[in-house]
Amino acid sequence: MHNSILHVQDFSLGYRNRAGDLVSVLRHINLEIRQGESIGLVGESGCGKSTLALAMMAFLRGGSEVISGQIDFHGGNLFTLSSAKLASLRGGKVGLIPQNAGQSLTPTMKIEAQLTEALRLHSNVPSKQWRQRAIELLQQVRLPAPEAMLARYPHQLSGGQQQRVAIAMALAGNPELLVLDEPTTGLDVTTQAHILELLRSLRLEMGMTMVFVSHDLGAVARISDRIAVMYAGEIIELGRCADVLRTPAHPYTQSLLRAIPRLDAKGLPPSLAGYPPKVGSVTQGCAFAARCQHATGQCQQDAQLLPHKEQWVRCHHVGQLPASNTVVSHLVPPTKQNADTLLDIRELQISYHKPGFFEQLRNRPAPVATVDDIDLTLKQGQTLALVGESGSGKSTIMKAISGIQTPSQGQIQLQQADLNQPVEKRDRQLKRKVQMIFQNPDASLNPRHTVLEILQQPLRLYFGLNNTECRQRAAELLQLVRLAPHYLDRMPGQLSGGEKQRVAIARCFAGDPELVLCDEVTSALDVSVQAAVLKLLKELQQEKGVTYLFIAHDLAVVKALADEVAVLYQGRLCQVGSVEAVFGGYQHPYTCALLNAVLQPDPDHAPQLCGDDTAEQHPPAQGCAYQRRCTLAEPRCRQATPPWQQVGGNRIRCHLSLDELSSRNGMPMLIDAANF
């Protein structure tokens, strides 16, 4: 047939649990990857996509075994290769680009050593030219100053640079097949867009075959020719990228696409009921039946992956379902307009630098403050989102409000109360009023306490309830977050990610707070679960009238949930305004760059890259904070702090006039790959 490079045949994989039973992680996977093709493996956590991708390099995680089938690379079964052949294949013909480059580069070796190691093992470049070739590779992945880069250690690079080095390392072996395991997860929007564009252009230049694993349909849409959607260790839908994204046929794919918040939609996306099944828990029938609104008795039997129009779909009811429509009416909850100001931040400055004894003696000027000149007000019952890349000071501001970090200057006030004082000095009532929900419920819930014990602590502390009252109130709190009362006696380890985050939300609401600080509360959750948690937060706000200060890196989530948005760069405000104004009105160049970099699960949508993605270490001492990366920067931007310009509820801090901004932002300077 056509020239297939990799052929997965009836491949099943599993591991033995403590009881000695075989738990299957992948079930009867069939997939053929053609030369030069790029295929996206998508699905939520635990669906087996990474396991499948690593199996394509004959790598099984500890304790796993092949149950049936095989994976052929150029016609030869990978699992029968000798370890020497396998070693020359890995990193050579088949390269891997790992998820977290920061942790995947050896911390004790310089970049040069790691690159030349790959060259020594997998290329016939003579040793004298290794250094030269390493520089070429770094140029190929568009790293600035490649020679200086060689002498650095991984921790001295930014996340995007580390990812580029990892790509260069894979390219060193002249791979035919590149396995990309969530290569952009954990990166900033702008960095992610840059890395994806780099991968796209490398693919065009070198004609490489790619297997792209991601939970992010937007990222997959940029890279893939075909998409395989996985659920509970099976491929449930397979087809051309555009077909799957435009006309998804499987009910799971349909609801997944609907659950993704989008920039071009209003309000919250509709959520998907339930949670993805635990690994190996489904052994018979359609794995999605439990969450599927179209499920019938027939779904108790195994479905086959059968052709349907242009796609392959594993569903008994394919074709009989109502026509899917990805453009759905998102829920738009009414927002209350309450005029009372709850939180007032004036001229806030936070500096982590504490001058040492000798520095005080020598009277050295203190370094520029991490966060400076923040003026924000937050009205009762509203949601303010702080957006910006990592290092923009979002979390630092949140730390100041919660009292973990004391501001060096300025005022934070919650109604009449002074929030400048550190949390130890705040009285109990004030502590109760400001509560926090953390990013990762695995880390924020004590794994050795039951849900009841977790919820009891704030109840005892703030309201002095006794045991029976606590249990009663804790059950009510669980009901509030849509969990059944029997969860009270469970441990966090027995809950799924979404359930854990609900418990964390319940704990936060146990104190009956007025201001809730939400730090990336949905970024550790799967898309299908995220929509439900966002809906819960919105409903709780309407029920209780609480105010949210929200940090999220996903701008679509911000758009769905927030009333007001504050855009931060390097600890300085660039723009503050209502969601409609910031996303749709006049924009600061940085806001524009952020929004243009957003990926959408739409085959026709291309992010636009404004400026480069260099991570900066320190904000500039004078002028506009964004001067170094701004494509519109002028000499005055380097000298004077820009003035605030106001249109309606929209404040922009820029030297350029609003008209200039709207006309020039409209045509962002595209970074052309060929120019490098």
């Binding site: 050579g92 995947s104 004790t108 190691e117």
Partner: protein, 315 residues
Amino acid sequence: MIKLILQRLALAFLTLATVCVLVFGVTEALPGDVCTAFLGRDAQGTRLENCRQQRNLDQPALQRFATWSAGVFQGDLGTSLKRDKPINDLVANRMRNTAALGLGAALIGIPMAILLGVLAALRRDRTPDMVISGGSIFAMTIPEFVTATLLIYIFAIQLQWFPAITTVRHSAPLSELIPNIILPMVTLALVMMAHILRMVRSSMIDVMASDFVQMARLKGVPYWRIVFIHALPSAMLPAINIIALTIAWLLGGVVIIEQVFNYPGIGTLMIRAIYDRDLPLVQAIALILAAVYVLCNLLADLASLALNPRLRSAR
């Protein structure tokens, strides 16, 4: 980097100065002095006063401390009260002997411990690991003088390979010490190895499960190279501090083991000096041991710096 080293050096100096004061203070606080110890319980009257005058003990403590510390500063540790000899002469040979013992034990023990620890980690929960880990727990639990006695019983009494106790004088050349040094050295090495080995094993297990080791595997790096080039430097980081602590422990252990084997080292000398209430000698030896301790920790810090690029470029 250089600033960091200078800071550590200054700190080390400060520690030693504190040790000087403490050692002097503690020995001063003890009831009795060299004269009461020398002359016996009924020391009193003019005999005692003469004795004290001879040895400057009638001067105020502060003044004696000043003279002594000024001497230490110039490299003169003072004069032994009991033996009437310069301490420098008394200590020199014995210091050499102890250094030979300690260094020998460290040179055998540390590399062996690292190798065995790595082996145990790589063969985790299999026979080599069981044997190595079991053995190390055994070596850790029994006190060093029991190990020493056991070794004497097997190798000196039963097999008669090595002498049971040392009969050579402290000033004998090193070559004459060689048959005598083996058993104390093995005893020291054994106990020291156990701690280091367990630390290397557990940190190596962690590192072998890390993302960058998995990445190295998927990059096709040969197994031995992954172990020694990619993983071991990171795995050594927590082990280095244990090594420094173990060497510090070794200084205490040396006193006991030298006593068991009657080895003419600094430990034996120290125990005699304490018996004799020979305060300047006790002070001098305590100071030397403290200096070695501080030096070991300094070396451990430098080794961590060498192994961990993150520490090096932090400032």
